[in-house]
């Protein structure tokens, strides 16, 4: 019988133990993930159902607001709509109905766009929101962190100081003001970019060159306004992290040892500073499913944000629940993935 070399056996045992530990870690995090999603969706369910806005009354209000209305007819309509929307029954019965439907991935019909399913409305808006916020988040993260890293390392560079002042100056500007300023600059004073909608009017929304180029052109100003207000946070965060790391002993030794400065910056400093920024990125990407309400509103961009506002104002619980549920799952997933990757990315983080 062939014997395993002792060293190999020990290595395999360690590897196995480490895998077992990681599996336990994975399962615990998975349990937390499921718990967070369950609790989050429940909270949203009860909060939306506690709203004083009644979808039936909103529908009646909009149907009778300007036209001729017979008081007798309004009573008949109220009764009929309450039955149609399935709003009869106790909150508990509605709660059971909701989870039964959700188990099959169905959020039910929208109450403000009845009988169109909520999933159809979300599917229509989701690509626009993801496109807009994914792009702007990545640009802001990439540019903000790069410039912040440089500013933290080359602290005496005047250009980087000026960039720092600009980035931190833009950060507190309210999103509505920033959007409007960008819109006035590039839509009125120097009118070179479209200021409304997701694509040019009368273009067919298919994967043709005119449509795609139109989508890109229409996204420039919304992306720009989002990048300008978010870039400062990444810049400041990265600059602070780098400013701390440059004083670490290993950086000082590397400099004294004559290691190339570019290499010190990229491999010794930025890489270490990036870990918390990656967590921030993951959370930001998870949060994009909330939409960018104000930017979408100003630029007439057809994303989830304006859809959510419409749902809230019309008391459309189904729609609000649908969007909120997706958002909860997305943020929880982002945290979950980051938790799983952390021990792999940063050896200082132990699973036990």
């Amino acid at each position: 019988m062939k014997e395993w070399p002792r060293a190999s056996l020990l290595g395999a045992e360690i590897e196995f133990a480490s895998m077992r530990t990681y599996a336990r870690y994975f399962l615990r995090r998975l349990g937390q993930f499921v718990f967070v999603v369950f609790v989050g969706i429940n909270i949203v369910f009860f909060v939306t159902h506690a709203t004083p806005v009644d979808p039936v009354e909103q529908a009646i209000s909009s149907a009778t607001q300007f036209g001729h209305s017979d008081p007798r007819a309004v009573e008949i309509m109220r009764k009929a709509l309450r039955e149609l929307y399935g709003l009869d029954g106790t909150i508990l019965q509605q709660y059971v109905r909701f989870w039964t439907r959700l188990a099959t991935g169905d959020f039910g019909p929208s109450l403000s766009a009845f009988p169109t399913p909520v999933s159809v409305l979300i599917r229509q808006s989701l690509p626009w929101t993801v496109g807009l916020l994914f792009t702007s988040t990545l640009i802001a993260w990439g540019v903000g962190n790069s410039l912040g890293g440089l500013a933290g390392y080359y602290r005496k560079n005047r250009l980087l100081k000026a960039v720092g002042i600009a980035a931190t100056g833009l950060q507190p500007i309210p999103s509505y003001i920033m959007s409007l300023v960008v819109l006035i600059l590039f839509g009125y004073i120097w009118p070179i970019l479209p200021i409304s909608g997701g694509f040019q009017m009368n273009v067919s929304p298919d994967l043709s060159i005119p449509f795609v180029s139109s989508v890109i052109m229409h996204s420039i100003l919304p992306v720009l306004s989002l990048v300008l207000i978010t870039i400062g946070a990444w810049f400041v965060g990265m600059r602070s992290l780098v400013s701390n790391i440059v004083t670490e002993d290993y950086v000082v030794y590397a400099e004294l040892a004559g290691v190339n400065r570019r290499r010190i910056l990229t491999s010794y400093i930025m890489r270490n500073a990036l870990t918390p920024q990656l967590t921030g990125l993951a959370l930001s990407l998870g949060a994009i499913f909330n939409g960018a309400i104000i930017t979408e509103f100003v630029f007439g961009y057809p994303g989830l944000g304006t859809l959510l506002v419409r749902g809230v104002n019309s008391g459309d619980y189904s729609l609000v629940l649908g969007i909120a549920s997706i958002s909860i799952v997305a943020v929880a997933t982002a945290v979950f993935v980051i938790d799983l990757l952390y021990p792999l990315l940063d050896p200082r983080v132990k699973v036990e």
């Binding site: 806005v53 001729h68 009929a80 929208s110 009988p115 409007l180 409304s196 997701g198």
Partner: protein
């Protein structure tokens, strides 16, 4: 560096190139001078692919469908009308009632066709009524259920309605003010197993336009003039000018102004007073309904302080009148519309033809109207309030403020109540209220407090008016405050869960003097007890046997009976004496029209042929008056 320069050059070329394209081809494939672009005030349409306007929560009421694509029996214009205020649209004549108003016969026009080439007949009307009667979740289903016993078509051009009870105003369901019951294409809907599950996309239209294309995200809809527009009812007035009409979501008010300055939005539905003043100053091609102040179109709707008459303190007329006498209308006008308000002391809006029917005849009566407080007698009407508002604006607005008293009356309104805290004090004291120090107490000794509901950011002009009124009441010693309910304002008002609210319970035809459009619902038979939802429109929950009698007399006469105006005047006098709610002004809409690409828009001075607000269904009449301003 060289690479950077090259990149910068390429980027600017791309941007300038796009700009050049954007100017020439604002809408892909449609020349700018062939399209009229109007604002859809509903913004982005959630249910964008639904054109089945007969179901609740269908796509949109303001995307051009009801304005350009649909038709019904009659239209009444809020202003002078293209050929008088009444238009027989699909009907060839006015409704014919029997003696006791239990039957209505409708004669239909010949030669009217749907956009797919099928002829419109009485069967479409019968189908429209019967289909909706079967399903009360359809928009006009409950109204038909409540009124119609049977509907038949004795011949292809005649419809006979037999009604469940006498109803001299039954035709109002089919008469457009802002909208009405639209006629369904029987040949399309009858093929559907369930008409409420059918999205009617693309819509087959009866109006002069058909749908060309639309954004599935609900941001824009483009309508194209039908080749066979001569086979629609609008053809009686000529060819519609714009070949295309786009209804778009232009975003917030500031952006609408920018788009019109860029000539990318021909009709702004509504903007802020400040936006209107900016356009009046900076854009020579932009015009409001009035050439000068107040620019806005006064809609036939009457914003008021709605007092909940079921709340104990407002059951007493003296209290309601005291509150009216504590309002300084000049300050309210400046706070709300920045002076661009058209004020009204009486319970109808000062718009359309109502100055002729109601304001002129009642002016002397108002001047002599007297309040007897028990301690003193007081004539509260000040006929010069509108004149005073105009005078106060003249130093800053100059030539834009009219000087002719008649023009001032049309633009700013006429008189209002003189603020008089002394008389208000006497009225409150007679009602058992007491002043202790600086604050007023109710007869039961608790503080006299009023919460005034407003819509907040949803309706900033009315919110500002409410804030000013609450402040004026506070100065007098009443603990008054405003509370904003942006999302559920109207349902809250309907449920009676309020003391006072900035809203409206008076909406009129504007062009026609009949007041039943709102007044019929003020009858006490529809009054709900506190806690139950009040149907539109008696939000003030007011009842009075004298008012019931007036309403019943109106029900007993025909729509055009001259006695209707007399009864309307009686109602107004009653409302002045009783003050169930405090009328303020008409609902002024800052609709701004850009004449760069189109001329012939309606205007108060030159041609008030229709309401310019582009989501009113009467907008179709505007199409035949519009002419291209630029060569093709």
């Amino acid at each position: 560096m060289r690479t950077l320069k090259m990149l910068a050059f390429m980027l600017s070329s791309l941007l300038f190139g796009e700009h050049a394209i954007a100017q020439a081809d604002f809408l892909a494939g449609i020349p700018r001078n062939e399209v009229l672009i109007a604002e859809n005030p509903e913004g982005r349409i959630t249910n964008s692919t639904w054109f089945n306007i007969w179901v609740v929560n269908h796509g949109s009421n303001s995307n051009g469908l009801q304005q350009l694509g649909l038709d019904t029996l009659w239209y009444i214009d809020a202003d002078a009308g293209i050929d008088g205020v009444w238009d027989n649209s699909l009907a060839s004549e006015k409704p014919i009632y029997n003696a006791d108003f239990t039957e209505m016969t409708v004669k239909l026009r010949d030669g009217i066709f749907w956009s797919d080439g099928v002829e419109f007949t009485a069967d479409d009307v019968v189908y429209t009524v019967e289909t909706q009667m079967k399903d009360p979740t359809m928009v006009w289903g409950p109204a038909f259920q409540a009124s119609v016993d049977t509907v038949t078509a004795p011949d292809p051009k005649t419809v006979l309605f037999k009604l469940k009870r006498p109803n001299s105003r039954f035709h109002a369901i089919f008469t457009v003010r802002w909208n009405a019951a639209w006629i369904m294409p029987k040949h399309i809907f009858e093929k559907q197993p369930d008409p409420t599950k059918f999205n009617f996309n693309p819509p087959v239209t009866l109006g002069p336009y058909t749908l060309k294309s639309f954004d599935p995200n609900g941001e824009w809809y483009i309508w194209q003039r039908r080749d066979d527009w001569k086979r629609t009812t609008l053809a009686r007035f000529g060819e519609p000018g714009p070949k295309y009409v786009a209804y778009i979501d232009p975003g917030p008010p500031d952006k609408r102004v920018i788009m019109q300055l860029n000539h990318e939005l021909d009709i702004i539905h509504d903007t802020t007073p400040e936006g209107m003043f900016t356009l009046a100053k900076q854009s020579p091609s932009s015009h409001g309904w009035f050439k000068g102040f107040p620019y806005a179109h006064p809609d036939p709707t009457l914003p008021a302080v709605i007092l909940n008459n079921e709340v104990e303190m407002f059951k007493n007329r003296d209290v309601r009148w005291a509150l009216a006498l504590l309002i300084d209308m000049k300050a309210v006008s400046l706070a709300s519309y920045r002076g661009a308000a058209t004020i009204s002391a009486i319970a109808v809006p000062p718009t359309g033809l109502y100055p002729k029917y109601y304001f002129d005849p009642l002016e002397d009566w108002l001047k002599n109207f007297e309040i007897d407080t028990g301690k003193s007698k007081y004539k509260p009407y000040d006929p010069t309030v509108a004149q005073q508002i105009a005078d106060s604006l003249r130093p800053s607005m100059g030539e834009r403020i009219p000087k002719d008293p008649k023009e001032i009356a049309t633009a700013f309104g006429r008189g209002w109540w003189k603020p008089n805290p002394e008389v208000a004090t006497e009225l409150l004291e007679r009602a058992g209220f007491k002043k202790e120090g600086n604050r007023w107490l109710k007869p039961d000794g608790t503080p006299f407090s009023i919460t005034l509901l407003v819509e907040g950011d949803q309706r900033p002009v009315m919110t500002r008016a409410g804030t000013m009124i609450a402040q004026q009441w506070r100065q007098f010693g009443i603990d008054a405050k405003t509370q904003a309910y942006p999302s559920d304002f109207f349902p809250r008002v309907a449920s009676g869960d309020f003391e006072a609210a900035m809203a409206w319970s008076v909406e009129t035809w504007g062009g026609h003097p009949d007041l039943s459009f709102f007044l019929d619902s003020w009858h006490s038979e529809f009054l709900k007890p506190a806690g139950e939802r009040q149907p539109p429109r008696n939000w003030q929950r007011y009842s009075n046997p004298e008012l019931d009698k007036i309403i019943e007399q109106i029900r007993a006469i025909g729509f055009d009976d001259p006695k209707g105006v007399e009864l309307g005047q009686e109602f107004i006098k009653l409302a002045v004496r009783e003050m169930p709610m405090i009328p303020l002004m008409s609902y002024n809409v800052f609709t701004v029209m850009d004449t760069t690409y189109w001329t012939g828009f309606p205007s108060a001075e030159t041609d008030p042929y229709t309401d310019p607000v582009p989501n009113w269904a009467n907008t179709k009449y505007m199409m035949v008056k519009l002419k291209p301003a630029q060569p093709k």
